[in-house]
Symmetry: C2
Subunit: 340 residues, 2 copies
Amino acid sequence: MKYKATTIKDIAKALNLSTSTVSRALRDSHEISAATKQVVLEYAARLNFQPNPIALSLKERKSHSIGVIVAEIANSFFSQIINGIESVANEQGYTVIISQSHENFEKEVRTLQYLASRSIDGLLISVSSATNDLQQLKSLHQSGLPIVFVDRSVEDIHTHKVVVDNYQGAYNATIHLLEQGYRRIACVANSEHLNITKERVGGYMAALQQYQLKPDPQMIKYCFHGGMLLHEVETAVSELIKLKPKPDAIFATSDKLTTGCMRMLKRHKIAVPKTIALTGFSNSELIELLHAPITVVQQPAFEMGQVATELLLQLIESKRPVKDFKTIKLQTRLVSPDNK
Amino acid sequence: MKYKATTIKDIAKALNLSTSTVSRALRDSHEISAATKQVVLEYAARLNFQPNPIALSLKERKSHSIGVIVAEIANSFFSQIINGIESVANEQGYTVIISQSHENFEKEVRTLQYLASRSIDGLLISVSSATNDLQQLKSLHQSGLPIVFVDRSVEDIHTHKVVVDNYQGAYNATIHLLEQGYRRIACVANSEHLNITKERVGGYMAALQQYQLKPDPQMIKYCFHGGMLLHEVETAVSELIKLKPKPDAIFATSDKLTTGCMRMLKRHKIAVPKTIALTGFSNSELIELLHAPITVVQQPAFEMGQVATELLLQLIESKRPVKDFKTIKLQTRLVSPDNK
DNA sequence: TTTATTTACGCAATCGTTCCCGGAAAATTC
DNA sequence: GAATTTTCCGGGAACGATTGCGTAAATAAA
């Protein structure tokens, strides 16, 4: 069953006016007398009239909704981004439709297809780690759908991007390990397809070189599904600890991988940081409660969401095609368990 | 700028047919010849035609979207519920609009107002801990909006509810502590307004009585904002450890409170479980990685989301008003760090 | 051959709004 | 008092789809 909301027609009929007059009165048009306006406004308020957003959307050819695709919301980093997105989107009267790719390319494609079919006005996306085909995204972009990338972006598509200084963040984390005396530092990284992976691994290698250490390919493990499949991390860590000599530290390039490594090290009964130290990107709020207090690279997730949404709404509301795209690069923060 | 999608009119014009014929051809109506159908279908496929969902919504007076209100998505319990919701909603062609109350009543009211104005077809809600006025919710329900409660429900509103056996879950957890020899068990609970709080505190007290222990009001602390404000938990824990004799264990009634207590105990440098043991409701996946391995009460969150959504969609798609409402009560699981 | 029935399509209303026109009444100017 | 301008409001098309109804042509039945 459904409930019937009051429409502009109901008001018009009740007040013996035309729908155009009612519409104009509600929008405070100058061509309606003060007296009529008052009558309409009062009556509308009494019935708690709400203009039907669907009718409006049809008329304006705007759904007033934006799509968001992230790997998974059950991840502090992404949920913080989403909070940032919502804070500005809702402020401006936009509905946010959240979807998850679960780091799965097919799911991402289906989701994207679905969002497009729901006629969203714009898209915020952090591509999945499994994404290696950009056809669909490109074609949507070409057909005019405003897109802004957050965190994980894509080089081939020319639009606004909101990212962090991944190189620097990874560099800082690795230097932190080096300063503490670790010399055999392994890296558990996300999918090679991701631009952030390249940048973070780059920062990691630069730090090693700074200490005259040669990066060892065997010490870098890539996880195609970004740690979504635990066995990926299991394989990575198992292989690392089989190496001779073993690594004395691990740098993980994402939230999921950082906690994944910790899980694995614990399962192998390897003391952290005594036997193997660990650091990595993470925005989890529970880090300080973990059995092994580790240093993490934090990203300004909330702010990233905000900035990205502002840019997207600019794109959506711009009268003419935007040509001048910018890439906003924010800074990460190295957080130690003590210096909180 | 905006991109213009192809409409049924474009197809009609190009093929020299009427819009009705095109519409019927696309819907495979029997009153269109096979030849025409083929032409239309092929042309539509070539242009990647997607019927405008907004126009459909207007026609059918259905938005094909459901609203979801939870405390916060950055909480494993709720994000798992949401995953459950999405899994069935998307399957049935419904869009999920997620909103967060952040355990704040005013925010919840605004959000509800907003969702209603976006003409959602139904609502899934887990009320905020600060909710003590049900006026708005009641009036929406009376005006015909289908509502299903998840986890935190409300007695006064007669509709489907999907909950867990809170009493039993809390009872089990407390018994678990008692069996381990703890006798001065405190309780850090959520807002007293929440029905789940009453049930969980009830289970806690029943367990105590089972061991001939008299529940001490001083040992039960309520947090109005459900631990959303850390200082609430701080006050609760500080007061508890000032008691003489001190409690030797704490039972926390929610995810946020369980981790909040752990945070506080750590800050006070109180060893867990040595000085004070801790157990509580939690669906966090990081529990096993915490410095103090604790036993938690887990809720079947994903399933709760699924069941609730199925019920809601039934309500939405029912031809006549539903009178027979049910309350689905699922079981919790007591999970120890070892028996995983 | 004539009539009845299918078949296959078009017309137009509808959903709830907005907004371009057009026009009557009132107010202003000459 | 006539001409002009304002003020105020209604009619109706449009947004993109569906659908009841009407109807010409094709086919079947008489």
